[in-house]
């Protein structure tokens, strides 16, 4: 059983919802990323999504696009991100880490090289924003052999047929994009999300995490009620942008954001 699967099973057994924060690796500086990952875990993270910066993040809004620019200003490469995960694993062997990014840096490294290095560094899953399952036919066997979980996106526009076929390729969890838009979009309709998540659950047993539009304890709790977990990104990255100069203040601010979400989610627990 993968680290992601066993973590989500464990949470389900406890009747709890997963809290999955996202930060971009190398933002505000590569030296701080591992420290920030530990901060997220201490504040209640169950799984960490670690963004791999890309020069052309076309599915991201301005907040995460700027985080990519800050990280790339320090030349944060995919190899460096893998090294960060390795350092994180020196102290934390339990918290699953999912790399989230775009295909081209992986393609440039070579898929077999990447998968071997990622597994070796302690990565558990990979979410590639611009890789729908139709284009993953050649890559999927390499992932399957390594045991890395391929995390796929579902969207409000995904038809039932596609939900079914994408679920066949997915493992770990499915990332449901709650709104039509880029990361950082604000308006989330919890009733619509709940209805769609129910229809996804009717078609697959893979756990469903919901992202886009979750910015505080209230939205986390509302979405947690209708899903297996929540993914929180832009609001954390915005906090990083606002506290670039002082790492201690940044860690406190991230903790202050995440901990109330953890508490609110645990109140939802059945």
């Amino acid at each position: 059983m993968s680290r992601i699967e066993s973590r989500l099973k464990q949470l389900k057994g406890q009747g709890r919802k997963a809290l999955i924060p996202y930060i971009t690796a190398g933002d505000p500086h590569p030296d701080h990323t591992v420290e920030l990952m530990h901060t997220l875990v201490a504040a209640g993270a169950d799984i960490i999504e670690l963004g791999v910066p890309f020069s052309d993040p076309m599915a991201d809004g301005p907040v995460i696009a700027l985080a990519c620019e800050r990280a790339l200003a320090h030349n944060t490469s995919l190899r460096m991100v893998l090294e960060m995960v390795r350092q994180f694993r020196a102290q934390d062997n339990d918290t699953p880490v999912v790399l989230m990014g775009y295909l081209n840096p992986m393609e440039a490294m070579g898929y077999q090289t990447f998968v071997t290095a990622a597994k070796d560094a302690g990565v558990d899953g990979v979410l590639t924003v611009d890789l729908p399952p139709e284009e993953a036919l050649d890559i999927a066997p390499i992932f399957a052999e390594s045991g890395l979980d391929p995390i796929f996106l579902l969207a409000p526009t995904t038809t039932e047929d596609r939900i079914r076929s994408i679920s066949e390729h997915a493992s770990g969890y499915i990332y449901y994009v709650s709104v039509k838009g880029v990361t950082g979009s604000s308006s989330i309709n919890v009733d619509d999300v709940g209805a769609k998540v129910n229809s996804i659950r009717a078609l697959t047993s893979v756990p469903v995490g919901v992202g886009f539009g979750i910015r505080d304890a209230a939205t986390a709790a509302a979405v947690g009620r209708v899903s297996d977990g929540v993914i929180v990104g832009s609001v954390l990255v915005d906090t990083i942008a606002n506290n670039q100069e002082n790492i201690e203040a940044l860690k406190a601010a991230l903790t202050n954001l995440l901990r109330p979400m953890r508490e609110a989610l645990d109140e939802v627990a059945s």
Binding site: F54, S55, M58, A108, D130, F152, T159, V177, G181, V182
Partner: protein
């Protein structure tokens, strides 16, 4: 090792997933997949629909002013002293470039699909102007995304778009040029996917866009074929077209792909020279990767980050290229070469001085290479250079290089 292509092979491409060999495809986030599949399905229906094709042909004839002439450049031929040089005059189209062929087609598609809001990206502004033009005519809401740097160097086109009723959005992310404008247009599309049609201006992007753009631009090659037979009594020996994303080139090349005797030359922007990396020539000096929804040759660093590009011509200043060109390169059917900024400026001046035709700086790359090529060929040979656009928009750039304030 060129492969002999048959009509049958060409009909089978791209495959059902939008692949031309290793290239093309649909590398986008899930939210856009459904729209792209609907667009593909509807377009494949309309492609064989007589009413749709009749509407397209009528607009090309009566609104764009097609067919554009095939013109024998007698003085340029004499000055060059080699093969006969003919010019396909896309610069004479309404709005001054080949771009309008595609925007007419895609705007018709938008109307057939019932979309009222149109978005587009633009580099030099020609595609933005062509999109704003057809939107004005059809009464569609039009938003154009343009890099902040391009807005600076193409202010005339920005004003034209505004006069035509389009809203021009300045893009300040990344390198502030065409690739970033395309990112921003994709972001808008994913947000407004229900009511918005994205008119992509070049033969790149996710499937089915490379097919749409190629099909709508192929009128260039079809006319050239017919006109060559009528005016010269034979097919040309070589075709030359500039390649940024590659829409005018694929439109020119595609109807000739099965004609083995016709050599195809795509001319990329060599900028300050391929050696220093200051160029926009992914086919000449890049490697395959994935950007903007398709796998194709790209300019990138060793970590897979997209490299910044340089060209004197904003319309060629793009790190990728249409996937069908990547395939044509690999199978050896077309050759991709480059000329530098200085050579392109030379082409601009020569055509202006000798023939009284001012080409766009993009097209001037094709002129510069075409003249070099013709000089190596026998006098009984014939080449056609695609003059994809007119140079009025570049007068400020040329004047600045000459140290003249206008």
């Amino acid at each position: 090792m060129s492969v002999k292509l048959t009509e049958e092979m060409l009909k089978a491409l791209p495959d059902s997933r939008g692949h031309f060999g290793d290239y093309g495809g649909r590398f986008v986030s899930e939210t856009l997949m459904d729209s792209l599949m609907v667009l593909e399905r509807e377009y494949y229906k309309l492609r064989d629909d007589a009413d749709f094709q009749a509407a397209f042909d009528k607009d090309l004839a009566e609104y764009v002013g097609r067919p554009s002439p095939l013109y024998f450049a007698e003085r340029l031929t004499r000055e060059t002293g080699g093969a006969q040089i003919w010019l396909k005059r896309e610069d004479l189209n309404h709005t001054g470039a080949h771009k309008v062929n595609n925007t007419i087609g895609q705007a018709l598609l938008a109307s057939f699909l019932g979309k009222k809001r149109v978005i587009a990206e633009t580099g030099a502004g020609q595609h933005g102007v062509a999109t704003a033009t057809v939107c004005a005519r059809l009464g569609l809401e039009c938003h154009v995304f343009m890099g902040a740097e391009d807005i600076q160097r193409q202010s005339l086109n920005v004003y034209r778009m505004k006069l035509l009723g389009a809203e021009v959005h300045s893009v300040t992310s990344g390198t502030r040029t065409l690739k970033d404008a395309m990112n921003e247009a994709m972001r808008d599309w994913v947000t407004n996917v229900d009511d918005t049609f994205y008119i992509i201006g070049t033969a790149a992007g996710p499937h089915p866009y490379p097919v749409l753009v190629r099909d709508f631009q192929s009128v260039i090659g079809r006319e050239t074929r017919r006109q060559s037979m009528v005016q010269a009594g034979k097919l040309p020996d070589a075709l030359v077209a500039c390649v940024g994303g590659g829409s005018n080139a694929i439109g020119m090349f595609h109807p000739f792909l099965a004609d083995e005797s016709v050599a195809l030359y795509g001319v990329e922007a060599g900028g300050l020279g391929l050696e220093g990396g200051q160029h926009a020539a992914p086919l000449s000096a890049g490697r395959p990767g994935v950007l903007h929804g398709n796998r194709t040759y790209l300019m990138e660093d060793e970590n897979g980050q997209i490299a910044s590009t340089h060209s004197v011509s904003a319309g060629l200043d793009y790190p990728g290229v249409g996937p069908e060109h990547s395939w044509l390169k690999d199978i050896g059917r077309a050759q991709y070469v480059s000329v530098t900024d200085d050579e392109a400026l030379g082409g601009f001046r020569q055509l202006t001085r000798v023939e009284g035709i001012m080409p766009a700086l993009e097209s001037a790359h094709a002129v510069a290479y075409g003249v070099k090529l013709a000089a190596t060929m026998d006098k009984d040979k014939m080449i056609v250079i695609n003059v994809s656009g007119r140079g009025d928009k570049d007068i400020h750039t040329i004047a600045e290089i000459d140290g003249i304030g206008l």
